[in-house]
Symmetry: C2
Subunit: 384 residues, 2 copies
């Protein structure tokens, strides 16, 4: 066993505080509400060159710089920077930690407040109200208002980030010139809910979770959160990617032994699990997976997904990856059909890749070229 | 929480004891070795009408009768009986609990013995030696010798049962007239190993597991084993089956709440997990999943799968199901190619089903007709 992990690592995140708070879909009011965020590049005088990046379940706002907790490069650093698809010489790239997250935005790890906004001296924990994808988007909208950005050149994101893109386009259509929902779907499937539930069950069954009040003992439910990460990680990869990376290769000796970690793939998964718990909060994981599970845009619009986009003037760039079985191409096609039924301006590409769901984060030159082209097209149109 | 679960429920299984024991692939000798088994129908005078059914990971020998622990119908009762595909008026159906199992055959739950076969007064637990699929088959072979059965009319099984079928055909070809490997593969894939590893990690991280010595406290690692079962169960179903069964239906109220078990699929999975721990031993689960993970018939034969079947006179019936993503049709096709390369007598059918891997256990009339036809053909040929 390694050294104990502090439940609440002290990191000085850049945050904007909204003292009046915000009402959530569930009816609760979060007051005050903090939104932690990062920006890359320069916002132009007309404030017309902002691109909002929405992060996925376990991502955060450190999208294009070294992470303050892990020290590792930003999760989309490969496409953000001068001359890259998200060109910081031309665009101002913004990313906010989602509401319910654990990197500085208000969430289960932050101090609980009462309705008047007074601090109660302990973290929210599992008393943090349920948030929806739409709540996350409303919080980002508050940040845009604060920054004086009235229209985003584009909103882009993969996986849960793509869900936020769709909510942005449906909820604040006049603010979204271009929308790029990537490797995502307009609802979370029964299988995806089931995989999330396994992760939650693993966290709940860890005695160190203590009903969510793990901070009281200065511990975290590392084992449960690690197992949750392991199962999720499998769903992010394809069978081909796993086989190419590890195959059935044994670790070290080839002798027949049933000790732990005999296959390389096991060692890799355990490593993934154990590093994850150092940067992510278990209660946040519970909160955000629930938000994904609840996401169903058709249901929000009377069962008709196209109604969510009726009359939209947003340009859509829908992208999927051929080996993604978590958000398969069929989900993107269903979304495209609904957008077409709403007479939206939409282009759709399925990129050939054997890297599974994770492809949207990896080196996929064709995808990067297409995404860069879409953004440049939006910028040209806006005269940016 | 429910009442504690006894680690070793007392059930009087029908067993055959081999006092001289058996050497395993790992070099260890299990002495004595018990094989628990059940038979249905009547062995004819020529002992030529026996069909051996090999069970899957969490199956057992109670294939066609109510289970002595759970009281539920046998796992293949739907195809075994008078007039059914496995017609007990014509065939004698045998099934043995696998070596390493927990329904009476020697395994981690049984009393540990020394090399001389003396009981050591405590269970094997994690000191039970690693077993392979071939070890399981060798133990079954001992049972056939004991029963005086020199040739099996057929050996059949799905999933890990199918792995045993392949080992039977490769290791004792003269004893296998017909072989039906169903919904299986000649090796365990990296993705399948990864899913098993998540289950093992969940068991290992349960403090009630106590390094495998849970019997000392009269407890079982119920939470960990339950999570292991939950993740495995998802892999047994198809996305379509999950959607048809549960979709995104909420359980009870439709109010936005993040309490546990809000979706029906979650409630179902938790139920699957909690009932499983009442009948299955955690150390057995670790032992048997390892045996599956190690299974790689090509590697056992110098990297050439067809070499495993060179010169075989066994008739093969290979079956897969279109929505099975745990053992996809591609795996069966690879097996069929190897059998063809060995000039074997093989027929192959992919059955259209949306029930996933579990289809081999469910009502699939076309599959049942084809399997029944294959067995009847073998019997006709043998004059049974």
């Amino acid at each position: 066993m390694s050294a104990p992990i502090a439940p609440f690592p002290q990191v000085d995140h850049q945050r904007t505080l909204f003292a009046d708070g915000m009402a959530l879909d569930c009816g609760a009011v979060i007051r005050p509400m903090a939104v932690a965020w990062r920006g890359y590049g320069t916002l132009n005088a007309a404030k017309s060159n902002a691109i909002l990046v929405c992060h996925a379940l376990t991502g955060d706002q450190y999208v294009a710089e070294d992470h303050p907790v892990t020290g590792r490069p930003g999760w989309w650093a490969n496409i953000i920077g001068p001359g890259r698809p998200l060109d910081t010489e031309r665009y101002y790239i913004l990313c906010a930690n989602v509401l319910g997250g654990c990197m500085g935005s208000t969430g289960p790890r932050e101090e609980r407040t009462d309705e008047a906004g007074r601090g109660l001296g302990e973290p929210w924990g599992t008393d943090f109200p349920p948030v929806t994808i739409r709540d996350m988007v409303r919080a980002q909208r508050r940040l845009m208002d604060h920054l004086g950005i009235r229209r985003l050149l584009a909103v882009i994101g993969g996986s849960m980030g793509g869900m936020q893109v769709l909510e942005w386009a449906a909820t604040f259509p006049e603010m979204v010139f271009g929308a790029a929902p990537i490797a995502t779907a307009a609802y979370h499937s029964a299988q995806n809910i089931a995989f999330h539930e396994v992760g939650r069950a693993a966290i709940h069954s860890d005695p160190d979770w203590k009903g969510g009040r793990y901070w009281e003992d200065g511990r975290v439910p590392a084992q449960g959160l690690s197992v949750a990460r392991m199962v999720a990680h499998i769903t992010y990869l394809s069978e081909q990617a796993l086989t190419r990376k590890f195959g059935r290769r044994l670790r070290g000796a080839s002798a027949l032994t049933f000790l732990e970690d005999v296959f390389e793939v096991e060692s890799y998964l355990r490593h993934q699990g154990s590093t994850f718990v150092r940067r992510f909060d278990a209660n946040s994981y519970l909160t955000i997976t629930r938000a994904m599970d609840y996401f169903d845009m058709a249901e929000e619009h009377g069962g008709d997904l196209s109604a969510a986009f009726r009359g939209t003037r947003t340009r859509f760039f829908v992208a999927s990856f051929s080996s993604d079985w978590l958000f398969p191409t069929a989900d993107s096609r269903a979304l495209v059909r609904a957008l077409n039924a709403a007479a939206a301006n939409v282009s759709f590409v399925e990129f050939q890749s054997d890297k599974g769901h994770d492809a949207f984060l990896l080196e996929e030159p064709e995808f990067h070229r297409a995404l860069g082209g879409f953004l440049a097209g939006c910028a040209d149109r806006l005269g940016v």
